[in-house]
């Protein structure tokens, strides 16, 4: 890295998005998104399917050109200094991108060479990253013989080889076991502690909390909320009472809270969930026998997410975000 670039990196946010928009055939996927990530900050990128998370990551990686706005990495404009900016960037996309026919070592060496590492650097970095992601014993195994979690680790490792200053990780823990997940989260925390900025798209809210990450919530192509986990919970310092009915929410109950898109779940935000539930049940009368389930979500990132988006953050439904946007 040149002295100029290093100086820029020290003083500026590592990632700056200014009024970034992207449309596909006239359909907006992102609308005037503004977002900064500071060196050493981990940003948890959350949002429902189609919110624009993958588009945002693709734009930041320079894989897509924005329809409008400006993206800077380490102060470098992505459109005019793409190659230099990419030297600061490590990307692990959502879809696995590895060579199944090649060994773990061959895969890592290939991506390391492309990242510009020389032979002696490759060996050193490969060992560091392999240790960090528990791949050392697998170096000579073909990628196609690895388990799903091991493949995911290899996929993520390829983004870490050249010591990027900004990491874009799109669901890096999808399909990995608990130990690996904890190991990976720990490594990401240690990278952040060394000054690496991390943009971490995930379907697991507890990971955002475990990473002590700040949060940006994308919805409908816009950043609707941004802050630390503590700030968001403080902003939405209420529990959510969730009442699921066998069919649609009975008429009149919508005044108690918010009916979800499926029209069979009523969500009531309340500081005193017991009273709110008791009032709702009293209003229901005979319709109470149509209740299928009741759940109280205490103040947490999940209740804040619910309050902000009106949706549960369900990894089972969030995990299929293949749509570009």
């Amino acid at each position: 890295m040149t002295a100029v670039v290093r100086d820029l990196c020290d003083r500026r946010p590592m990632l700056e998005l200014r009024d970034v928009s992207k449309s596909y055939n006239g359909v907006p996927a992102l609308s005037k998104v503004n977002l900064d990530i500071a060196p050493g900050e981990i940003l948890g990128l959350l949002g429902p399917n189609g919110a624009g998370k993958t588009t945002l990551i693709s734009l930041t990686a320079g894989l897509l050109a924005p329809s409008g706005g400006e993206i800077r990495i380490g102060g470098l404009d992505l459109q005019t200094n793409l190659l230099q900016a990419r030297r600061l960037l490590g990307v692990a996309p959502q879809e696995l991108g590895i060579y199944l026919q090649l060994t773990v070592s061959q895969n890592l060496r290939f991506f390391a060479r492309l990242a510009g590492l020389r032979r002696h650097q490759i060996t050193e970095r490969l060992e560091t990253v392999a240790d960090a992601l528990d791949l050392r014993e697998l170096l000579h195994r073909r990628a196609q013989d690895l388990s799903g979690g091991e493949k995911r680790r290899l996929h993520t490792a390829a983004a870490l080889l050249h010591g990027a200053k900004l990491l874009l990780l799109d669901e890096p823990t999808a399909g990995v076991d608990v130990d690996t997940r904890n190991h990976l989260l720990g490594y990401i925390r240690s990278l952040a502690a060394e000054g690496t900025a991390v943009c971490y798209a995930t379907h697991y809210l507890h990971e955002v909390e475990a990473l002590d990450a700040s949060v940006a919530i994308l919805e409908g192509g816009r950043v609707t909320n941004r802050g630390t986990v503590a700030e968001l919970i403080a902003t939405f310092d209420e529990a959510v009472v969730e009442i699921t009915f066998e069919s649609t929410v009975p008429p009149g109950m919508a005044t108690h809270g918010r009916v979800d898109d499926e029209e069979n779940i009523l969500r009531i935000r309340a500081r005193d969930p017991a009273t709110a539930l008791s009032n709702a049940l009293a209003s229901l009368g005979d319709a109470a026998n149509r209740i299928q389930a009741i759940e109280v979500v205490k103040p947490s990132l999940e209740s804040a997410y619910l309050a902000m988006t009106g949706r549960r953050f369900d990894p089972k439904t969030q995990g299929t975000d293949h749509h570009r946007g």
């Binding site: 693709s58 990686a61 320079g62 894989l63 897509l64 190659l83 230099q84 990419r86 030297r87 960037l89 990307v91 996309p93 879809e95 696995l96 991108g97 590895i98 060579y99 199944l100 026919q101 090649l102 061959q106 290939f110 991506f111 060479r113 492309l114 990242a115 510009g116 390829a158």
Partner: protein
């Protein structure tokens, strides 16, 4: 140096992947040798009728089959591009500090090398197994072959540029191999083709390559006699390079089911 290093990394990766597939060696090398073995007596008779009394048929069938079967490199080289899209590694490469031309060079070099190796093997085995004699200049023969290899590489790039699915690449490869071999005189000498077909022959690269090969192998001529075929092949390659430069986009999405993957 850094630029060449990254192209080298891509080329090396492609070689490592290719070496794990034996199918392409069978198609490119074994199949033409089998056809040569079966076809040589018939081609010998044809060449005798045309006044080449000392010819044994290898002078027509060896270069003809070498050209026809090397055209299937369109499939294998196309695969090298398309599988990157299927494996999601294309965007991964693009997200690294690699310039577009470095990616292209890294992809092109293995293709060019394999074409040259295939031609060398088929011609060499044609000499030792089927008695192919180079009556003219070996240098001229090599130059014609190199010009055809350059044209074929640019044609492959153009095919990858135009095709959106791997099935389209397969269609171009299979149809192209037969059509260009037939029209260009690789299957049978051009003057033995039906009268409605032979006027089309000069519009094919195979015609010019075969014309160059015939000059050297049958007529015993040297470099000056093959300058025109070489010039036409390189002009065709230049036109394709211009087309690819204008039309090829690294961010174009490619799709298609890959055989056996």
């Amino acid at each position: 140096m850094g630029s060449l290093y990254r192209s080298y990394a891509i080329a090396r990766n492609d070689f490592e992947l290719l070496l794990r597939e034996s199918l392409f060696m069978i198609v490119l090398v074994a199949m033409p040798l089998v056809v040569i073995a079966f076809g040589q007596p018939a081609y010998s008779a044809v060449l005798h009728q045309e006044g080449y009394g000392s010819a044994n048929g290898a002078e027509q069938v060896v270069p003809g089959m070498a050209l026809m079967f090397v055209f299937f490199m369109v499939t294998f080289a196309g695969l090298a591009f398309f599988r990157e899209h299927m494996w999601n590694t294309w965007d991964r490469i693009r997200a690294l500090p690699v310039r577009n031309h470095e990616i292209m060079l890294g992809k092109v070099v293995p293709t060019f090398v394999i074409i040259c190796v295939q031609q060398t093997i088929v011609f060499t085995l044609g000499h030792f197994l089927f008695g192919l004699q180079v009556r003219g200049s070996v240098l001229a023969l090599i130059c014609v072959d190199l010009a055809f290899a350059i044209w074929l590489v640019t044609f492959i790039l153009a095919t990858v540029t135009v095709c959106r699915t791997f099935q389209q690449v397969l269609a171009v490869s299979n149809l192209g191999a037969i059509l260009l071999a037939g029209l260009g005189g690789a299957l049978a000498p051009v003057h033995d083709l039906p009268s409605w077909i032979s006027p089309l022959s000069p519009f094919t690269p195979t015609y010019w390559a075969m014309r160059g090969f015939n000059s050297v192998l049958l007529s015993g001529e040297g470099l000056s006699a093959v300058l025109l075929p070489i010039g036409v092949l390189l002009a065709g390659a230049a036109a394709l390079v211009i087309f690819v430069s204008v039309r090829f986009r690294l961010d174009t999405q490619k799709s298609g089911v890959l055989p056996g993957l």
